[in-house]
Symmetry: C2
Subunit: 366 residues, 2 copies
Amino acid sequence: MTHPHYHAVIMAGGSGTRLWPLSRRRHPKHLLALLEASTLFQSTVARLQGAFPLKQIWVVTVRDQMQALQAQAPAIPPENYLPEPAPRGTASVVGLAAVALRHRDPNAVMAVLPSDHYIRHVALFHRLLNAAYLLAQEGFLVTLGIAPTYPATGYGYIQRGEPLGIYADMKAYRVRRFKEKPDPLTARQMLAQGGHSWNSGMFVWRADAILTEIRRQMPDLAAALDEIAAAWGTPQQETVLARLWPGLRTETVDYGVMEGAERVAVIPAQGLGWSDVGSWESLFDVLNPDADGNILRGGEHISIDARDNLVFVKNGHVRKLVAVLGVENVVVVDTEDALLVCSRDQSQRVKEIVNTLKEQEMDEYL
Amino acid sequence: MTHPHYHAVIMAGGSGTRLWPLSRRRHPKHLLALLEASTLFQSTVARLQGAFPLKQIWVVTVRDQMQALQAQAPAIPPENYLPEPAPRGTASVVGLAAVALRHRDPNAVMAVLPSDHYIRHVALFHRLLNAAYLLAQEGFLVTLGIAPTYPATGYGYIQRGEPLGIYADMKAYRVRRFKEKPDPLTARQMLAQGGHSWNSGMFVWRADAILTEIRRQMPDLAAALDEIAAAWGTPQQETVLARLWPGLRTETVDYGVMEGAERVAVIPAQGLGWSDVGSWESLFDVLNPDADGNILRGGEHISIDARDNLVFVKNGHVRKLVAVLGVENVVVVDTEDALLVCSRDQSQRVKEIVNTLKEQEMDEYL
């Protein structure tokens, strides 16, 4: 495929507290080899390499993670790594990337992609990216929607409006409405009603189109971005960035831009095999359980009358045996200094543990 | 109390596979600080020191454990440590101890006591030992019975017969019958019927009385013990022991002697606060759970919506945090190289894990 003006922007600044105790401040989720031999970030890069030349793959991250990311993906040109001075939400990230891309390519179309998701069917993913590119060329802000499989309350939803036609064999729709993470009843209603997709956090748009929307809805951010754009590529670039960035309001691109944007489209993806790997429970969608429904990773394992459990052992300097006896639907994650035992249906609450650690200043476990 | 001919014999040769992964071949149960700062063996010794002079406290063990035991209880005279050349069951242990005791004191009365039990009420325990001594002086083989609190299937039962009178304020009975570990229905029937005690594995008898019963019921063992007795205290002692011991049939004193013995008495103990610490579940009888019913030992702990769990962390070279979220009635035991996650009501099956380790030759975890 590879369009000359099409760029991929990987957002790689997060921490992923819901995968504690494996994900830690110094070992954020996208830098973990959670599902495969490669890390989620490396898999994200590999997935994009078929669709984008390396010089058109960008990474936005925080300065702390820069070195680790470059070590994991040395093929990406160093100048394509964009460090945020501090985390200020995805709206700012997207704005910064748009400025940098337009500096190199005024006609840039950008696919904005999280660094820590899983996608099983890469060929379909590439077709989606291709369709979104065509739609973005018409000025749309395009979201890639995921066909909901259950009434999830952990995702935002996108309601489809009028059809926009077929783009590279994919149906596209105008977006009627974004709905942030719903309550269980609303989630069930949307699922029953149909016409909704999960918001995957994957977007495609022209760099100038998103900057126009930022200007309309977030004028403070737009003003800062103008100053940054003026300094970009000059010796003042870093100074200006360092001066303006801390003053930015932290905001997501979903809340800050997409919900109020004018020309928004969705391409609903069916059968993408997508997961945001957003909780230990989500690994059951991605990894293959054994005959007893158990997923056993790392270390050595004995299971007796144990079903539908996830046992994840971080390989440390000592080989570890985990024996599970007579338990069901339990998540066990063992690292050298921290152990999680959690019921599967509560695994999205792991961030409460992280919050407790913060409150109690048990920083060594964060 | 302290009677001049009264000796305590601590049986300290076992391994305690049901407390894996804390108890291991090289760290048998009685050498673990499981409940208190002291080990179960040390607590056993401490409990006896009020009732027996140190020179009348004996320890029978296997050669491998000798050094560790002496290090834990250096106050016991070295000559009171009796090493079995190899484990051959408690019948052989009792016979060996009887031979050694009679060599020093022909009128010896011996209290045979496991090294790895817990007893909360030490004063009552001493009264029991005193009563048993008086009964043993009349030639009885005395068992200390425990008042059953639930229809346990993991203990042997003792059915009481005719009353023998009051000894040091304790009621004593002839034993009508020993019943080995019953099925659940039989256990419930015995509990409903009354007149039964659990077999605590604590016995009191004259050394000559138990040797007479061994001679009557286990003539092979008696013949070996005669040879050992003849060599005891001579330069041939070790040679004779090493020659005869491996040929002994492995048998418990319960099966081999008590079930068929003639003058057997029981003193039922009520409110002794006894536990054989025979499974992780049993720790709930001994340790005090917190307000949520959790017992959290070792390391650091966070519990969120977690109830009635046992979390036991062996303190290693790294401090460890265990976070438990949304689980109930689970046992978690973490050591440096092995982790157990087990439902409480299955915790007596931990020995199946140990058996699996043996079958799969995963010796490093045994």
